[in-house]
Symmetry: C2
Subunit: 330 residues, 2 copies
């Protein structure tokens, strides 16, 4: 089958591409063509199936028609301006996160009007569709009341995915990803960055700052789990979801203390000693408005799986990013 990935040069996009190339399939179905697009042209690993590698702006009205004209069987729509960017650049956020999604779905509908076509669409959504106040554990029927433009744009995209699915134009699912941890790469300035920084950096022998109290609780899944969600979404019969095609993915609810204790167990005291503790009032305030825990019953019933401990999350990072070694202990 032909697969299109938007946002293919991003962190999840690259990991998904690698897993497709390594396994030869996506969700159990052989991938014979792989179209990759992002704001910069993605470079797939060696051995990738043939296909487009194109720098494209999905907020431009004719990009989607060109991509969909190749009639991919599966579309994984990851492209987005992240939360901070969508907050800073109002128009660009709506253009990419909302209009880009709508153009893509409209191109699918138009393609199907010309000749029957009903591809599977996996839309990357987020727990940022929720805004405080919320219960200690957010259930599957809790209201979407985002407190960022990014969250609003994702809810609007979810509505389109559900409505276009109900209308028979496509077969869609919107997966609401937990905060991805441990994010590989360099520390970034995202308010959530420290959750990853305080594990990734000490594992590599570098210091990292914890700007909040240790009892802060949040909702996590590893990059490996996120890629697994996408495989599972492509593999499963989406009609099992009924008309509610936007669902909370499973994750791990954990405190910073639990992160640090897992780091201690996996990498020892030397790693833990690299964590500094300088409170940052701005980050403390932002994080106070974030979800702490979910009860993702539907996703679990449907067979989606995430890590069950931070030990697992850290080990996945060591295997996937560090070649099985722990530099701080080398």
């Amino acid at each position: 089958m032909r697969v299109l990935i938007t946002g293919a040069a991003g962190m999840i996009g690259r990991k998904l591409t690698e897993s497709i190339v390594r396994q030869g399939h996506l969700g159990g179905r052989e991938v014979t063509a792989l179209d990759l697009t992002d704001v910069v042209a993605p470079t797939p690993p060696e051995g990738a199936p043939e296909g487009l590698r194109e720098a494209a702006d999905i907020s431009a009205p004719d990009t989607a028609a060109r991509l969909i004209g190749r009639r991919p069987d599966v579309i994984v729509h990851l492209a987005a301006i992240p939360s901070g960017g969508a907050e800073e650049f109002f128009e660009k956020g709506y253009a990419v996160n909302f209009d880009g999604t709508r153009f893509l779905l409209e191109a699918i509908r138009a393609e199907g009007l010309a000749e029957p076509y009903c591809p599977k669409v996996v839309f990357s959504s987020t727990i940022a569709v929720f805004g405080a106040p919320f219960p200690d554990r957010i259930g599957d029927e809790f209201i979407c009341a985002p407190l960022t433009s990014y969250g609003a744009q994702k809810v609007m995209g979810e509505m389109l995915v559900c409505d276009y699915t109900r209308r028979g134009f496509l077969d869609g699912i919107a997966i609401r990803l937990p905060t991805i941890c441990i994010r590989p790469g360099k520390p970034n300035l995202a308010a959530s960055g420290f959750f990853s920084n305080i594990l990734r950096e000490p594992l590599a022998g570098r210091p990292a700052n914890l700007p909040v109290a240790e009892d802060v609780r949040h909702w996590f899944a590893s990059p490996r789990a996120a890629v697994g969600f996408i495989h599972h979404a492509v593999e499963m019969d989406l009609t099992r979801l009924g008309p509610r095609r936007a669902i909370n993915m499973p994750g791990l609810s954990a405190t910073v203390t639990e992160e640090i204790e897992a780091l201690r167990r996996v990498a020892g005291e030397k790693a833990v000693a690299l964590i500094t503790r300088e409170p940052d009032p701005a980050i403390i305030e932002i994080v106070a408005g974030w979800p702490r825990d979910f009860h993702p019953r539907r996703a679990l019933d449907l067979g989606f799986r995430a890590e069950r401990s931070f030990d697992e999350i850290i080990r996945a990072h060591i295997e996937d990013e560090l070649g099985g070694e722990i530099p701080v202990n080398a």
Copy 2:
């Protein structure tokens, strides 16, 4: 102040206009200019304040700029393709119900970029933002999972109203109206039409059919209550809502039996005898997926009020539509 009403020729639009002209104010604030627009040019009652009466297509990109260029202090956005129409005409539904709303909010934002401007916006939303299955009573934190394109478009509009408000571009509220009963005028083909038909027609001495079982329960407010919600929304300090600017309006949860018993009390056996009972399987199925009851705690706390019995709803109809007389008993 200057008020703009879109959808001013519709049922709620006309009643709102009449109440403004009769009272001279909207939500306690004097109306000195009243701009009215709809797909046909609205004709206000005599004595209406000066202002635009314009046939305009709000799904055309430059309509909104022209309307907002007059810098109304309050905008009541009622214009919409109803549920059945949005289901039948996919593109037109999105164009009017979603793009029309977005153009309006974008025109407000653009106006404010040129010179400070932050009007109050009352957006007419609907209980069609909810889709089955739901609890017997829907609370203020229940998920929006519409089962119609109309419902999806309204959720998307709500998201914009909330986000544009949070950003400071406008001061918005989305009021989710119950099913309006008794709708004046002729019986229409809407699936919900019978709820009104079985009261309005017998009151006028004409027969009407009940196509569902008497134990069907649904959620109602009179046209008078709907106009009252808008007055209250304009009167109140919307910052009391916090960032969640979309709220379920109060209403009356009642069964068809309760409708009929109220009709009997208010208009007597002769009226009730005009109700025929031919089941319609299509309507039975549609209505089974509709909300039955709400617990609109936020709206009640904020002072929104609806009727508490069908007797009140029927009496409001007799006063507002029938000049205080009951034709069937004349």
